[in-house]
């Protein structure tokens, strides 16, 4: 177990301070790990593991909080926007209702109050529930350092298992979504009805499709999307193409074979509903 005395935790009040701390730490080759709600971090600490001894606690930076609606279909999630913020946001309900579905299924209420979308993205778990929704909605990750800002499509954010695009001196400051047209769908398959780590997650916005728990990272089903975009509607072919990107493994939570079958069945169900009018709330 970890003694609190062994940990360095910086608590900046402003974004500028935070970025400066990140830059300084990075220059000294002693990077700080940004933390928001701490819902992933505390699990690992409690297991006696220590991903890092140095943390940048963002919780006090008010500016990073909340969800904002922009234009007709835009949503901007601050780096501290929580699942509860998503559940309570009228704009999210209206524009990206499947994110509300996903947020409601992340842990219990306490976790929803602390866990953030940005943290979910940066933590890089392939079993994340919110990330497939954002990826299917073509979300953009806004990274900022003391030198400036850059925007990276979420679909290009992961380089491998828990490897992300973020440099040590950068911070996710926001996640932007311009919600594309089309039917939305969210499926989380688990052994129990709630508070379960997913066996398979599928999120779809129009022709865009993302899967969780079936590859080292959350993935877009690019081959299938191209096929559907070109008018393809053959179920068997769609299932085959989905499995080009969804390459599940056997693990303690499920089997690869089961996950392949579920991916295939979810794809069939999605394809069946694709050309029906989008659901309204």
């Amino acid at each position: 177990m970890i003694a609190a005395a062994d940990l360095t935790v910086q608590r900046p009040r402003t974004l500028k301070q935070a970025l400066q701390l990140l830059r300084d730490a990075s220059a000294e080759n002693q990077p700080l790990t940004p933390m928001a709600g701490g819902t992933d971090l505390f699990v690992t600490l409690n297991m006696g593991q220590r991903p890092s001894a140095r943390y940048l606690d963002l919780w006090a930076i008010e500016k990073l909080r909340g969800v904002e609606a922009t234009g007709k279909r835009g949503l901007v999630f601050g780096a501290l926007a929580t699942y509860t913020d998503c559940i309570e946001s009228k704009a999210v309900h209206k524009r990206l209702p499947i994110l509300v579905d996903a947020a409601r299924q992340v842990g219990g209420v306490q976790i929803q109050n602390r866990g953030t979308l940005a943290g979910n993205i940066e933590n890089g778990s392939p079993a994340a529930d919110g990330v497939p929704v954002l990826m299917a909605a073509d979300a953009t990750v806004v990274l900022r350092s003391i030198d400036g800002e850059r925007r990276v499509p979420l679909a290009a954010y992961y380089h491998g298992y828990r490897k992300t695009e973020r440099r040590a001196d950068e911070l996710i400051v926001a996640v932007e979504v311009e919600v594309p047209d089309g039917t939305q769908r969210f499926d989380k398959v688990g052994t129990r009805a709630a508070q379960a780590i997913s066996k398979v997650v599928m999120a779809a916005v129009g022709h865009r499709l993302a899967f969780g728990s079936v590859a080292p990272t959350v993935v877009r089903a690019r081959a299938l999307e191209a096929y559907v975009e070109a008018g393809g509607r053959d179920v068997a072919e769609a299932q085959r193409l989905a499995l080009e990107d969804a390459r599940p493994i056997d693990d303690v939570r499920s089997t690869a074979e089961y996950r392949r079958r579920v991916v295939a069945n979810l794809v069939a169900a999605w394809l069946g509903g694709l050309d029906k009018p989008p659901r309204t709330r």
């Binding site: 003694a3 297991m47 129990r192 009805a193 508070q195 079958r261 979810l266 069939a268």
Partner: protein, 721 residues
């Protein structure tokens, strides 16, 4: 008996919801130090080196105790010499052997919990690891007969073999035969409150322990024997317990270790297991494989049953799940063979878990009967009625009471069973497949010796004491009701105290025996006090009026109090009658055919368990049992790494139990039953019967929904696609 039966609120409820009820770890003890266990990371081998320097130098650390510096204990019992069901072979830092994964190998004591936890992490251990064998279904180790039964003070073990008639001949001649194998993985108890112990020495020879235990007297005996103290020098107190379910029915290594640590540092020591530490060192349900062979006529009448199987046990201790016990008792069947075997593996010793044997056995038997019903195209309920045992099929004795027929009828009616379409996959709800399944529930009506003392005071109140435990079942409340009833007092005028070895001796709260055993003692002690009072006479005048308040009678005799003790034993009717509680479980599931997700959408259980002492607490027991049965059917599975022998899912994130959303509205129905033979108060116990039959009912419903028979628990999604 008008105080008995009504749904009286828990008398300890206000204390529990306001934090006033002090659980073991919450008892304030001056100068208490905090201990944290270090557990082995290998599953078999030797400790070749331990670097404790860093831990010893960490802030606040008072001691790091390992096999190198632990106090030397008197010889401990072995599996051959152990005295009782709760008398486990413990790992008390006496040598360098590692016998299972997550075995206690060191204990770190510090001035605060956090510092102890930190220092425990700093202990570096080197091992010489040996190959392991942990999986019952993959092992090549041969099954063997369990060790000869011991005759302890806690429970008698049951015979591991039984024979009646000629099974081979009857099976050969049977018109229809079912032969299948059913498996159950290791399941791990996870009461809300983990194990917790505070050890306080009073000089070198007297010890007080606050422990979360199902048996203060078993605790006392085991502590005394382990540490080489006279039993009367050890006092165990356990006022509130946040669930036990069997894991707290035995004394595990951490309890004597806490006492050893307290002696080492010369201060009281508190030791609380973390949630992950509940996996490994404190028991689990064994892995079990059962084969059931049934022969029957075309009319469904049973000709023969063979029920045999093997369950996992550790290499160094004994435990056998008597999973054939329900088969010997449930149905009329002239030919029966049962055999229980064990296989020694490199695992910690398994132990009782809610309805040991009865729940695992009914999963196999009640699944097999469902398979027979399918084969014969007979309704599963009708099949059971055709084989109804009017007397105990094993002994031929009459039942002290049996209302199973009424249970079937009541539950079936409430469930709407007659509307079942027999074909699998024939009932749907949108895209979901709907399935209905049923099974029989049963649990023996156990009674063990128990004592109680009742004291009546001149102020018109009464105090009743017995050493027993309230493991969350409602003992405080129902004993208050039993006493109030016998004394003719309002419930508010009676105080019931428990959980202390200084009080009259009672059994471990296991085997659903507390209400019946302690209840009988309390009832008789209260009647005894009344009688004593009556014998004082009415000052030489007229007959003493039973209606005259105690206070007045005591005042008239110039007495402050009157006291009576009763030592309840099993009634001699035990030799003439067979005694069991029975019930019927009906379950509806909905299965997503595309995803394999199973959700229980409805469940009805009807139970006949003698007199119900409190309709509310009894319902909670039965409901909890039924919910756990759903959990057993669909979720619970302790996963071992087959190569390393490590438990891979030692927390509640990966060891799944149902959440609220998984559990539908459940109907718990009581079938009234008056049993004059079972014990003084006609109680059979409801702590365990609720879980029995449930896993089979779920599996049978899943078969009806999908046409797929799952014989290996848990019924996970991947098994249905």
């Amino acid at each position: 008996m008008k105080k008995i039966g009504p749904p009286v609120d828990r008398v300890d409820g206000p204390l529990k919801v306001t934090g006033g009820a002090r659980y073991a770890a919450e008892v304030p003890v001056a100068r208490v130090a905090h201990a944290v266990l270090v557990l082995s990371t290998i599953a078999r081998g030797r400790i070749t080196g331990m670097d404790t320097g860093k831990a010893e130098r960490a802030p606040g650390v008072l001691a790091v105790i390992t096999h190198k510096n632990a106090m030397h204990l008197p010889p401990q019992p072995t599996r051959e010499t152990r005295a009782s069901q709760g008398d486990h072979v413990l790992q008390l830092l006496q040598d360098d052997h590692v016998l299972y994964n997550r075995q206690p190998i060191a204990i770190v004591v510090a001035d605060t919990f956090e510092r102890a936890q930190h220092a425990a992490h700093l202990v570096a251990v080197r091992y010489e690891a040996a190959p392991v064998d942990v999986d019952l279904l993959r092992t090549r180790t041969a099954a063997r007969a369990p060790h000869p039964p011991y005759h302890g003070t806690v429970a008698q073990t049951l015979p591991v073999e039984s024979r009646r008639g000629d099974v081979a001949a009857a099976l050969a001649a049977a018109a229809v035969r079912v032969e299948e194998v059913y498996t159950i993985p290791a399941e791990t108890h996870n009461p809300m409150e983990p194990h917790a112990t505070i050890a306080v020495w009073h000089g070198p020879t007297h010890l007080t322990v606050y422990d979360s235990t199902q048996g203060v007297f078993e605790d006392q005996r085991k502590l005394a024997a382990s540490l080489g103290l006279p039993r009367e020098n050890v006092r165990v107190i356990s006022h509130y317990i946040g669930g036990g379910f069997g894991t707290k029915g035995a004394v595990w290594s951490h309890v004597p270790l806490a006492a050893m640590a307290a002696q080492k540092v010369g201060r009281p020591v508190k030791l609380v297991l973390s949630r992950p530490q509940m996996f490994g060192p404190v028991g689990a349900r064994p892995q079990i494989e059962q084969r059931v062979v049934i022969g029957a006529g075309r009319d469904g009448v049973l000709a023969a049953i063979r029920h045999e199987g093997r369950s996992s046990v550790s290499q160094f201790d004994q435990f056998c799940e008597h999973f054939t016990a329900p088969t010997r008792a449930l149905y009329k069947c002239p030919n029966l063979d049962t055999t229980e075997r064990v296989v020694s593996l490199d695992i910690a010793t398994p132990c009782q878990m809610r309805a040991p044997g009865e729940v695992t056995g009914t999963f196999a038997l009640e699944s097999a009967l469902d398979e027979l019903a399918v084969k014969l195209a007979i309704d599963p309920l009708e099949l059971r009625l055709r084989n109804y045992a009017e007397t105990d099929p094993e002994t031929g004795r009459p039942w002290s009471s049996k209302s199973l027929r009424q249970c079937y009828q009541t539950a079936a009616e409430k469930f709407g069973w007659s509307r079942k379409k027999p074909q699998p996959r024939s009932m749907v709800d949108g895209k979901l497949l709907v399935g209905w399944g049923m099974a029989t529930a049963t649990y023996p009506a156990n009674v063990r010796p128990a004592s109680a003392i009742a004291t009546l005071f001149a102020d018109g109140t009464a105090l009743v004491r017995a050493g027993t435990q309230d493991i969350g079942t409602g003992t405080y409340t129902v004993m208050t009701q039993v006493a109030a009833d016998a004394l003719g007092l309002p419930v508010e005028k009676v105080r019931f105290e428990l959980g202390d070895t200084d009080m009259p001796e009672t059994p471990t709260s296991g085997g659903s025996c507390t209400a019946a055993s302690v209840g009988s003692a309390v009832h008789q002690a209260c009647l005894g006090a009344r009688e004593k009072l009556a014998r004082l006479g009415n000052g030489g005048g007229a007959d003493p009026s039973v209606d005259e308040p105690f206070a007045a009678q005591l005042a008239r005799h110039g007495m402050k109090r009157i006291e009576a003790r009763y030592d309840a034993k099993q009634l001699e009717t035990r030799d003439r009658y067979a005694m069991r509680a029975f019930g019927a479980q009906f379950v509806e599931v909905r299965v997503d055919p595309e995803l394999g997700e199973v959700r229980v959408s409805r469940a009805v259980g009807a139970f006949a368990a003698g007199r119900i002492l409190n309709a509310k607490t009894a319902r909670s027991q039965l409901l909890g049992g039924m919910i756990w049965g759903i959990s057993m059917a669909l979720h619970e599975n302790t996963v071992y790494d087959p190569k390393l022998g490590r438990i891979m899912n030692n927390d509640l994130s990966e060891y799944l139990v149902p959440v609220n959303l998984d559990i539908p509205a459940i109907d718990v129905l009581f079938v009234p039953e008056d049993d004059p033979y079972v014990n003084e108060i006609g109680v059979k116990g409801v702590g365990e019967i609720g879980i029995t039959g449930m896993a089979a009912a779920v599996a049978n419903a899943v078969y009806h929904a999908t046409g797929r028979r799952i014989r290996d628990l848990p019924i996970t999604l991947d098994k249905l696609l």
